[in-house]
Symmetry: C2
Subunit: 401 residues, 2 copies
């Protein structure tokens, strides 16, 4: 099945609106994007208005303007955050809006020529209200990938740009299951499967995980009431939504005080326009005490120094090799896809809804949430249960449960 | 003197920042633009940060998303205005920010296929807070033109697009005096000249103006304490700024109850993406009671029905034939340039700062302000003074004062 460029754009938009955010008649729909994402934003607007949206509110971020700031603004102004960014998000929250965020690098390398310490002081477009409104669960939201020429050239540097873009679109079509007869039905099946895996893991009552592989010897403690979650969330008002499209992960909430050892990232990480390669992080008593990389280390160090929780874990996620993304064996330089290709951990804030009431205050809190990939076929994952059993979870990338 | 594309872009940005808005160190700078204006926004950001701006806050409007709304949204939602649009503007006002707005059509004809009555219900990106914050005079602001390919093709439809764009840029360079050795000094001279004309007109103590020409026989009464203003404003905190670049007009505040007769627009008007051609408006006791046009009449009728003041005048402005814009004898389909080529009037809100205290409540109030051009070499403008004298003001487009 082959889709025309306008067909696949509209199918991706319809999936984001119809299943991902699950836009309801009468809702405001916030669309968060970067310049370069215009075509998909407009297809989403058409789809959302046809679904009965009251107002589609696109918000385009311009990384070139951010670059000018980091290059020229006074040092002591760089961490100033315009209050209206967060206020707009809180206004969406108060209205019970739907939200659709587009990802996909648009300006790779743009920040290579600026001082990474200065760059680290400006977290925008991320604002501290993001984890706040996620935790409130008033909004049905999703994150979807938006293919574009700059991203395509990053992923397929040896191809001419038109060919690279075509190939990236085909990959996105495949991993988003747009190449199935009914993408929404296909995702409902896949989500049910992931949720069964999550339920099995929750039933094991794990105390901690251990990752062992080349350069990696890491223990991640879990909070006692941590559940494993997957594919799908529900707002307080009862609207189902798929927060990430695609999604292939099951994830749980670490104890922010019990990460120990060393871990080598298995894929590059794109953050704030910088590419962080060959990342190695050492943890002591939950804290990332050493962050090294062959490029971009300063950017991550800057972000991990943002607040008390920024150097501790907020998420641990397992992904097996059967994921459609993992099978492509492609580095996408985009967390949304890469995190669903491999097991990963995230520095920064966790999800209070992932634990029971008594553990809520123990979930890590931070203004950041940065996933990085630590899984691969040669990284074994082993679980240790609360009652002392040792269970292989992933071997050669395959589930053992 | 010929400028390279990047030179002229940066010169225009530097003029907007250095003279138009007159950005001060430590200021937030709001930049209002449409998609298609990115390059100038970014040049402005560089210039503003170099001038010491604290934060440059671009806000891009996407007319394609608006088009989707008008095409598909429920009728009764079309006049809903997201509160965060106005709140962001009020936040800028509270901070005493600078503001730079870019104009220049980016999507001519986009709205030709929608129901003009539906289109008329959605005034965005205009919000009612615009005249409120202008009246408060806390912000130093300017409006500058932003050349682009779609606009160039509208102005020069017979040229290939690259050539049309080059020609539009040359016109903008000329009318913005970027082709002088020191554009800021050139504008200071020109502004002084316009202010002398305004002072002379104020000294005449005019009661009303009369416009007479082909299809036009219009009397515009002025408020008793109306001053003539030109080129330049000052914030309450004392920052000088040039609200329009270019500017060639002197303007005054009409009595909203005393416009009488019929007027034929001498140039097309672009409003909300629609081109309004061959506009004829008839006034009775200050109200526009009939609005006709060969295209786009519905759009203007919709806007003139927005509120009580939307069908009355808020501004009358005189422009002589010596303006650099007038001499080009080109229709730019953009009010900022066209209004400075010809005398004009505006439906909607007036400027309370244009009259003395006792007349403030009599200035027209409205959520709209739409200028349209009524002057030409064959339109005579005559003044009638408060003490009963009749004085020719413009004959053959030349000042008689």
């Amino acid at each position: 099945m082959s889709l025309s460029p306008s067909d696949r754009l509209q199918r991706l938009a319809d999936l984001a609106v119809g299943l991902g955010a699950n836009v309801q008649p009468g809702q405001v729909v916030g669309v968060t994007a970067a310049l370069g994402h215009e075509e998909l934003v407009r297809a989403i607007a058409r789809s959302a208005y046809k679904a009965g949206a009251k107002y589609v509110d696109p918000n385009y971020f311009d990384y070139h303007v951010k670059h000018a700031r980091i290059a020229y603004a006074a040092e002591d102004t760089l961490d100033w955050v315009p209050p209206w960014f967060g206020e707009r998000m809180l206004a969406h929250d108060a209205l019970g809006a739907a939200r659709i965020s587009l990802t996909g690098p648009t300006v790779p390398g743009l920040f290579d020529d600026v001082d990474p310490k200065r760059a680290g002081r400006d977290q925008l477009p991320f604002v501290k209200e993001v984890p706040v409104v996620i935790d409130r669960q008033n909004m049905n939201w999703t994150v979807v990938p938006c293919p574009g020429p700059a991203w395509a050239q990053l992923v397929y540097p040896d191809l001419p740009v038109a060919e690279a873009l075509e190939r990236l679109w085909q990959a996105v079509e495949h991993v988003c299951r747009l190449d199935t007869a009914d993408p929404i039905a296909a995702w409902r099946d896949r989500a049910a499967q992931l949720q069964r895996n999550a339920a099995t893991l929750t039933g094991l009552q794990l105390d901690r995980l251990h990752f062992a592989g080349p350069g990696t010897d890491l223990t991640v403690g879990l909070l006692p009431t941590s559940s494993w979650l997957a594919a799908g969330a529900t707002t307080k008002s009862g609207i189902r939504h798929l927060a990430n499209l695609p999604t292939e992960e099951v994830f749980a909430t670490p104890d922010p005080l019990r990460t120990e050892g060393i871990v080598r990232a298995t894929k590059p990480l794109v953050n704030g326009g910088a590419v962080i390669r060959d990342l190695v992080v050492r943890f002591e008593q939950g804290r990332a005490v050493q962050i090294d990389a062959s490029s971009g280390a300063e950017v991550l160090r800057g972000r991990a120094a943002l607040d008390e929780g920024a150097c501790r874990l907020g998420e641990v996620a397992l992904v097996d090799r059967e994921s459609r993304i993992g099978k492509l064996d492609t580095v996408f330089y985009e967390t949304l896809l890469d995190e669903n290709a491999a097991s990963h951990i995230a520095l920064g804030g966790g999800f209070p809804f992932g634990v029971q009431e008594g553990d809520r205050d123990r979930v890590n809190q931070s203004g950041i949430h940065i996933d990085f990939m630590i899984g691969a076929d040669d990284v074994d994952v082993t679980g240790f249960t609360q009652d002392g059993r040792e269970l292989p979870l992933l071997r050669g990338g395959a589930w053992q449960i």
